[in-house]
């Protein structure tokens, strides 16, 4: 239960960190909050020869809200997301999910970028990013690129990050006005990883018809319900509409069996949670229009 030896690097600028990533590539691991990486190292499932500690890089730690969206430095701790007043007001889905990322001791250290780059299948933040239409900025010494959430998560614990790249920024676009939201999950205990989960945002026009709908399920990667979302547009919220859309969304869900839950259970639970998420998001959207949401 002790990690293997490694060489420790503590850059204080992003440029320095990218230089180290370029030099050591696959032999190196970046260390953010360490809440996923260090357990893997303690178990010796990972033995990186070089550890590049990002915690001293101040320029990766920021929350910048603007009218058209929110830019978040990858090193921003999960507790900061939970406490941000602007996040609570404009992206409450992110606040709700960040508060479920494990107990307070973990959220105090764990970072947004670290959770996304680890890409654990049942982590909360990846499906929230997919639902909010986030994009990730990936940097390496020789350049930068921007990848949408749907292209960032490749499979369980695999992302579009190249060995010499760092995830540096997450950008979340502004939501439509009066957008309702919901995050639903089943986990064995509070703060545990989700066995099944669903996230949704829904906006209505003044006549009560759906003008914006996004739905994502927890699978081996976050599964945006591209087939189900168009079924909702222009329709009025109803339980049967949402039940049908949820069933459609869960059709393509890849899930695994393990000792906690069978794949069949996970698919079924995701479908039920998707229906609940749509219903709650639409209900909140309606309440926001009436100015009645507390």
């Amino acid at each position: 239960m002790k990690p293997a030896s490694f060489e420790y690097h503590d850059p204080t600028t992003l440029a320095e960190a990218l230089e180290l990533m370029a030099r050591y590539g696959e032999q190196a691991r970046p260390l953010a909050g360490g809440q996923s990486l260090v357990p893997l190292m303690n178990f010796r499932l990972l033995r990186p020869a070089h550890l590049i500690d990002l915690n001293g890089i101040g320029e990766l730690n920021y929350l910048t809200p603007a009218p058209d969206g929110l830019r978040i430095g990858a090193n921003t701790r999960q507790r900061v997301l939970e406490r941000g007043a602007e996040i609570e007001r404009r992206w409450p889905l992110l606040r709700d999910a960040a508060g479920l990322m494990g107990p307070v001791q973990v959220r105090n250290r764990g970072t947004l970028g670290g959770s996304l780059a680890h890409a654990f299948p049942s982590a909360e933040l990846p499906i929230v990013m997919a639902t909010l239409g986030a994009s990730m900025t990936l940097r390496k010494r020789t350049g930068r690129r921007t990848v949408r959430a749907g292209d960032f998560f490749l499979s369980a614990m695999a992302t579009a990050l190249e060995p010499d790249e760092l995830l540096t920024e997450i950008e979340i676009p502004a939501l439509p006005t009066n957008c309702g939201w919901s995050y639903q999950e089943v986990s064995r205990r509070h703060g545990d990883f989700a066995l099944a989960g669903a996230a949704s945002v829904v906006a209505l026009d003044n006549s009560g018809a759906i003008i914006h709908a996004r739905l994502t399920l927890t699978g081996s990667t976050p599964l945006r319900a591209h087939a189900a979302e168009p079924m909702l547009l222009g329709e009025r919220p109803s339980e049967s509409l949402f039940k049908n859309a949820a069933a459609r969304a869960a059709e393509n869900l890849e899930a695994d069996s393990d000792l906690h839950a069978s794949a069949e259970y996970r698919r079924h639970a995701c479908k039920v949670l998707a229906g609940r998420a749509l219903l709650q998001a639409a209900g909140r959207a309606a309440a926001l229009i009436q100015g009645g949401l507390s």
Binding site: M1, K2, Q35, V38, V106, N108, R189
Partner: protein, 161 residues
Amino acid sequence: MSTRQICVTVNGRQYSGAVEPRRLLTDFLRDDLGLTGTHVGCEHGVCGACTVVFNGEPVRACLLFAVQANGASIKTIEGLAPNPDELHPLQEKFWQLHGLQCGFCTPGILLTAEALLKEIPHPSQDQIREWISGNLCRCTGYLNIISAIEEAAKVLRANNP
């Protein structure tokens, strides 16, 4: 084996030492500094026994390397009581209300509860449960722990009106 020189403030006292980068903060505190009140349970971030307050926030010391604590200010359970003859109100209430049996999880829970009461002086039972959800106790069934935290909160509110 290369080592790094680090300087850390623990419970208000400065310590320095040379550590291998792979040395966990738990082992540095216990074996190098002799502060064995920080307990080591699972060593992979599940049980919460190793919780310490790191720059003001409770964290798991088994998921930090000692090198990362260079320049940091840490509070361990040895730093909770105001002096050797007096208990912190949390310790007093855990003792009075049987908030512990074997005591293995207690240091981590006390430090987590102290941070909770600083942030939320009047927590609900649900908030207490949420905050201590990262600390496993296999003896008490938690009910006495929750009562002890509630009672300590009353004392602290009365002391700092």
